[in-house]
Amino acid sequence: MSAEPLGLDWHVREPPLSPCGVVARGDVVPSLAAAAARYVSAGTDLKVCHGDGWLVVLGDSNCLPWVDGVVYVGLEDGLHLPTTLRCSPPPGVVRRAVRPEPGPIREVIVLIGHDVLVGPAPARVADLQMLVELQ
């Protein structure tokens, strides 16, 4: 699922965040799903979260798949943001706007552009069949 778009400003972040996930949207989703399936078949520990027109693959920074057109994300204040960008308002403020309830976040929340992608936090390694269906 997704949350209501937010009016976020983005600025270049230096140094970049360490990536812990990779996001594909629209036409790039099948390619990322195929790449993730290859990696999972080879034994790489990846977890997946997806919604309507988007796919997030989570894993160790050195084990994330690559396809042209994806965005790598890192964690800041419980939110996944593009590794190369810093958002304004800061993630802590955005988090309270998206999830005003106190306590730990039990979902994957990704901020990209003005969009907020929200999905359940995956508990297990990605299911190959699910990745095939996304291709």
Partner: protein, 396 residues
């Protein structure tokens, strides 16, 4: 590497010969790294110190390839290499040579220094702080003045670089003066979890670089050192002053000796980057002279804006590690991409394709498409083409 220059050094550019020497040193360091995992920074800093003439202290737990990395670089550079593991009961003659008994019978104290520290171009002393007072005092003379004195023996030491290794920095204040002679510090940790498989594979294969082919690179090091001593600091001196003031304000205390001698590292970095004048691009060496791992991190953070343009065409990994700046990162990734493309054949193996993807991942995770430096843009495009041309068929 930069294009070849033809104007003489007094016009602000390096002669072609020095550029060729820098390239030779870079290739030597690359060969030395074959079979080593996550020791790119250490091997490059050894080369930097060899050019600058400043000594290096490597701090890290046992079994982290400290001696292996230094030995490999020394072997590739050529010259006389001396290595020893010091202990509390190590005798001076084990480092500096035995007394000549024949001459002693004649009443003259002379030392046989052949093959020992006084005649080494590069020396590696493991557990250096375990040496006795006699050993450390003698080493001080060699490190400072490049002179060994004992009785009738007076040797002008060709020592270009002494690398000391230790598991941890000494607590004894009495060792501070000796430790301060090691201007550059590299702190080594065990290989990261993400690269364990790579370590296991390279360790199993026990891959060693090919022995040095051709002539020793010691003359090349000497030419680079001479060029470094003539390096123009005009553009960077005020920046150095600003940097040192900031570091001191942040609590990174540097002795006057370290501040002054840091200029030699700056000069060596400039020469190895193909210039006869130092610029802000060379300030990445400053965190190297901070005395502890924590103060090196603090130094990098304190100088983050001054280090933003840092890069080095020869010491790619070290420049990036000590600046964490985008310019150095871009240069390192572009070079990595170029090497991958050069090694690509018509039917690349899956590992080669994975390495291409890994490099593309690093590039895309480090730069937005709009901020990608031009040199890296071209390399990325070529890597994408190669990846797509040899893409594995999609699973059905």
């Amino acid at each position: 590497m930069r294009c070849t220059y033809t104007r003489p050094m007094d016009e602000g550019v390096t002669p072609i010969g020095v550029e060729a020497d820098a390239r030779a040193v870079q290739n030597a360091v690359r060969r030395a790294r074959v079979g080593l995992v996550d020791r790119d920074v250490l091997t490059e800093v050894v080369a930097l110190c060899a050019v600058s003439g400043e000594h290096l202290l490597v701090v890290g737990p046992p079994g982290t390839a400290k001696s292996d990395a230094v030995r490999r670089v020394s072997q590739q550079l050529g010259g006389q290499y001396f290595e020893y593991l010091l202990g509390r009961f190590t005798e001076p003659n084990e480092l500096f040579g035995p007394i000549n008994l024949q001459r002693l019978r004649e009443g003259v104290v002379e030392v046989e220094t052949a093959g020992m520290v006084p005649e080494a171009d590069i020396a590696f002393l493991d557990e250096v702080f375990l040496g006795s007072t006699a050993i450390l005092n003698t080493l001080l003379g060699i490190l400072n003045e490049r002179v060994y004195r004992r009785g009738n023996t007076l040797v002008a030491c060709p020592l270009r670089l002494c690398v000391g290794a230790t598991n941890r920095l000494p607590d004894d204040p009495a060792l501070d003066a000796f430790a301060d002679r090691f201007l550059a510090r590299v702190f080594v940790e065990p290989v990261a979890d993400a690269r364990l498989e790579e370590l296991l594979e390279s360790g199993w294969q026990a891959e060693s670089p090919a022995p040095l082919a051709g002539e020793s690179l010691i003359p090349a090091l000497e030419r680079l050192s001479v060029a470094a001593r003539a390096c123009d600091h005009t553009q960077v001196r005020s920046l150095l002053g600003i940097s040192v003031r900031r570091l001191r304000s942040a609590g990174v205390m540097l002795s006057d000796r370290r501040v002054v001698r840091a200029q030699r590292l700056v000069a060596a970095a400039a020469i190895l980057d193909g210039r006869s004048f130092a610029t802000a691009d060379d300030l990445w060496v400053l965190p190297l002279v901070a005395p502890t791992a924590d103060t090196q991190v603090l130094a990098r953070e304190t100088l983050v804006d001054l280090l933003a343009t840092s890069k080095n065409a020869t010491l790619l990994h070290a420049a990036e590690e000590f600046s964490r700046g985008p310019a150095a990162r871009a240069e390192r990734l572009a070079e990595a991409g170029r090497l991958l493309l050069e090694g690509l054949d018509e039917s690349p193996d899956p590992d080669a394709l994975l390495r291409i993807e890994a490099t593309l991942r690093e590039v895309d995770a480090a730069f937005t498409a709009e901020d990608l430096p031009s040199g890296l843009t071209e390399v990325r495009s070529q890597l994408v083409t190669a990846s797509q041309a040899h893409a594995a068929p999609a699973d059905s």
